[in-house]
């Protein structure tokens, strides 16, 4: 599935990002944010390039694309060393899975496992 014209998170097609619209103040931050579908398309491209890890990261990014900035920063903070217990991380993972973010959930639940083994959780 190749999107002919990528859309921003707002739904606005990329060719509507024009100077006229910027001048009139019609464009918002969501008009310059990448759409999850575009990230999935880029992930497929990365797979064809032979880098499945980059593809996976882009797919995780597709899940995160709809998250707010604050929420994203909060999750990052929770993953830093000594911030969260393994149980807290598992709870976060469950929450992500429930929000339809299985890949991010998998990453966080893996962190819960490894942090517990390696003493990175308080």
């Amino acid at each position: 599935m190749e999107p002919l014209t990528p859309r921003a998170v707002s739904g606005r097609p990329i060719d509507e990002l024009t100077l006229e619209r910027a001048r009139s103040g019609e464009l918002t931050l969501d008009d310059i944010r990448i759409h999850p579908d575009t990230l999935l398309h880029q992930a497929a491209q990365a797979d064809r390039f032979g880098n499945s890890q980059l593809a996976e990261s882009l797919r995780r990014g597709a899940e995160m694309a709809m998250l707010g900035d604050e929420e994203l920063m909060r999750l990052y903070e929770a993953l830093r060393p000594g911030r969260s217990t393994a149980a807290e991380l598992r709870e976060i993972a469950d929450g992500l899975a429930a929000q339809g973010m299985p890949r991010c959930a998998e990453l966080v639940s893996e962190a819960a496992d490894v942090y517990a083994r390696c003493g990175l959780a308080p």
Binding site: A22, R60, E77, L79, P81
Partner: protein, 748 residues
């Protein structure tokens, strides 16, 4: 008491050389002061059970640290691992170097290599073999370069002007940082504006604390990130307040905002943090690079970076730095190849550190060429800096190698600096961030660096940053402000950078934009080197850019410079010369173009001044000068001999337009002479006078003390040879082998 040790003058001289300001360390495996192959490095190995790695590089899964866990779970192709781990390291090294082995095959094999395996393969490569491998393995076909653009004062107008300057010289990524963290938003905005003034598409970055950096990216004020640091031991990783999982999350976080990113690692950081676990730098970096691939980063900045001097302090350390870049390429990731830390006080050593990679080519040859003066580089001086730019451009031309940069003309750069500073001032004013005076703007346009600016109002930058933060200004506000202030083209280019993040194509490996906003990446512009005659070839236009350094001169340039020194009518030819009979007559033989097309000698004296001195010297000895043009030859020996044969005294002086002169006698063989000034650039007025005096004494039959040739230990031939070649060509064009010597009338 023992007698004081004797000192050698030679050793005292050697001690005074700049290389001896550098520190050199003996190898110490316990501290990690080893380039490759520490006795504590593990044996490469892997054991897989039911699709799970249960043992890797000497540790069982129970013994894994978090880095091992991440690599084992995500970083290795377990279908390839058994095959490649069983292969001999020397055989793998040969496949890397052999241009007949396709790049893809090496990438495939590398995907199954553990860190210890890759470290051991690279430990077996000689420097030139690494260069061969790098030519084949780098991801992008077209090389590029990244600049540091910073200043001590975080002055936004200077940032913008310097950004424009860097893009004019060809840089495609610009990285800034700030001495005062809170200045970051204001500086990032100025960098964005300045970067788009000369051309579209240069990527910009503001290296600050990871959270703030991501926020700047989210608002469209920067377009890539690279200071997401990885370390080779868990302890140092955690001291850096991250884990492989938090970093992997951050990597995807950048992707989720459509922002290109790469991670940073490099030798020496674990040693500096005192926790290298006794491992070699090569092995620890192999872990970092394996982790980078495992996490899904598209590229790595390494090759020492901040720890480059640590690596360079041990035997083989500079070779280790080069091997780090190669590891990245083998993992099929973008290499942003270091060379960004001044690793030595010795010009020879720092050049030697960079040259092999420069010749082989990389996705980014520098991960920060200091495009500003050293004192303004807030990352610390780079291995090459603004004062090295001409050297670098000439190195490109010397080797016919595309190092990513190009010459820029002074007036063009001044115009671009002005436009960048004016546009930034206008945007700042329009958005209510700050106001800058005309005087300040003027000083920015012509400045070498921040030391040429008046002491700025540092609160103004802080204030601007606070307004940007609090009112949530974004890249779109910059677009609008540029457009409203009369910079529609720049507005369109900044908007283009915002559009790019919605498009997403520059998230692919090794992506840059060319100046027409085409994405060049591993996908669109893959490296296809497979031996001589393949791979990247400079397009004709690019070749011209590299060949055309601003200092180059043609014969035509030289002739027009010479014309400025002409004195028309002073010397006029007056028919064939006949032999003289006055025993006090010394003939000065002039070369074919002297005073015809060539009027200034290499020393800076005009030919008329030289003749005056020679004649005055002769007169002091009671002799008389007669001028004759010898058109049959351009050789100063034959000219002098021809003059001597026409002289009543039998003594002649030969003079070429470039200033080379000799005294000849009619009975000597052509290539003999009595006295010769061979190094024309160094001959002074007094020496020509002395030559005249000596020629007079020879004419009178005495044996004068020869005048000593001038001598210098400078690269005198490098300075003058291009002019010599041009002058000889002009002399040759005026030579007439068929003509006898001509009498020259001297209208003094």
């Amino acid at each position: 008491m023992t007698a004081p040790e004797q000192r050698s003058g030679r050793f005292r001289m050697m001690d005074a050389q700049r290389v001896n300001l550098d520190g050199f360390s003996t190898e110490n495996p316990d501290l990690g002061l080893m380039s490759f192959s520490s006795p504590h490095d593990p044996e490469p190995g892997i054991r897989v059970r039911d699709g799970v790695v249960v043992e890797m590089d000497g540790r069982t899964v129970e013994e894994f640290d978090s880095i091992d866990h991440f690599i084992a779970r995500h970083g290795l192709d377990l279908a390839v691992a058994p095959e490649v781990m069983a292969m001999d390291e020397r055989e793998l090294a040969r496949l890397l170097v052999d241009s007949a082995t396709p790049r893809d095959e090496v990438v495939r094999l590398t995907s199954g290599m553990t860190p210890a395996k890759i470290a051991r393969v690279l430990a077996g490569l000689k420097p030139v073999e690494m260069q061969m491998a790098i030519m084949k393995m780098r991801v992008r076909r077209t090389p590029a370069n990244q600049a540091h653009v910073t200043n001590r004062m975080d002055d936004p107008l200077l940032i913008a002007a310097d950004a424009a300057t860097a893009v004019a010289f060809g840089f495609r990524e610009l990285e800034t940082t700030v001495p005062v963290l809170h200045d970051a938003p204001a500086v990032a905005m100025a960098l964005l504006i300045g970067s788009q003034v000369p051309a579209a598409g240069a990527l910009t970055q503001c290296a600050v604390e990871e959270g703030l950096e991501l926020k700047l990216g989210m608002r469209g004020l920067v377009s890539y990130a690279e200071t997401v640091s990885l370390y080779g031991t868990e302890r140092v990783f955690v001291d850096g307040d991250d884990t492989p999982w938090s970093k992997a999350f951050l990597v995807s976080g950048y992707a989720s905002r459509g922002i290109k990113m790469r991670v940073s690692s490099g030798a020496g950081s674990e040693v500096l943090m005192g926790y290298a676990e006794g491992k070699s730098m090569g092995y620890l970096e192999a872990r970092c690079v394996a982790l980078a691939r495992a996490m899904g980063a598209q590229g790595v900045q390494n090759g020492g970076i901040d720890g480059a001097s640590v690596a360079a302090s041990v035997p083989g350390g500079v070779r280790e730095l080069l091997s780090e870049n190669l590891m990245v390429m083998m993992r099929n990731l973008e290499s942003c190849s270091g060379n960004d830390t001044l690793m030595s006080e010795s010009d020879m050593r720092r050049t030697a550190r960079t040259l092999p990679l420069f010749l082989a080519g990389s996705d980014f040859i520098f991960s920060g060429f200091g495009s500003v003066p050293r004192y303004d580089n807030m990352f610390g001086p780079s291995n090459f800096n603004a004062n090295d730019l001409d050297d670098y451009l000439v190195l490109q031309r010397d080797w016919g190698v595309d190092g990513g940069l190009r010459s820029a003309d002074e007036q063009t750069v001044l115009e671009l600096r002005r436009k960048a500073a004016e546009a930034t001032r206008a945007v700042y004013r329009y958005l209510g961030l700050a106001d800058f005076s005309d005087e300040h703007l003027e000083s920015v346009v012509t400045a070498e660096g921040s030391k040429d600016l008046a002491e700025p109002d540092s609160l103004a930058v802080l204030h601007a940053s606070r307004v940007i933060q609090e009112s949530g200004l974004t890249g779109l506000d910059v677009v609008r402000a540029l457009d409203e202030c009369g910079y529609p083209e720049e507005a369109e280019r900044v908007l283009g950078m915002l559009r790019a993040r919605v498009q997403g194509d520059y998230l692919q490996t090794a992506a840059i934009f060319d100046e027409q906003m085409n994405v060049l990446s591993g996908v669109t512009d893959p490296n296809d080197y497979s031996g001589p005659g393949t791979g990247y070839e400079m397009p004709a236009e690019r070749r011209r850019e590299i060949d055309t350094v601003r200092q180059q001169r043609s014969v035509i340039d030289l002739v027009s410079e010479q014309d400025r020194h002409a004195l028309p009518g002073v010397l006029t030819d007056a028919g064939p010369a006949s032999p003289g009979d006055d025993p006090r007559e010394v003939v000065i033989g002039l070369s074919p173009a002297l005073a015809v097309s060539l009027h200034q000698t290499l020393s800076g004296l005009t030919v008329y001044e030289v003749l005056k001195e020679l004649a005055a010297g002769l007169e002091e000895e009671g002799c008389e000068a007669r001028l004759v043009r010898v058109q049959a030859t351009i050789d100063v020996g034959f000219i002098g001999l021809a003059a001597a044969r026409l002289a009543g005294s039998g003594i002649g002086i030969g003079l070429q337009a470039k200033g080379t002169a000799l005294i000849h006698r009619r009975d000597l063989a052509p290539l003999m002479n009595l006295e010769l000034f061979s190094v024309a650039p160094l001959v002074t007025r007094e020496m020509y006078r002395a030559m005249g005096i000596n020629a007079g004494r020879h004419a009178k039959g005495s044996t004068p003390d020869p005048v000593r040739n001038a001598y210098t230990d400078e690269a005198i031939t490098a300075r003058y040879h291009t002019r010599v070649v041009s002058m000889v060509a002009v002399e040759r064009a005026h030579s007439r082998p068929d003509l006898p010597p001509q009498e020259v009338r001297w209208n003094r």
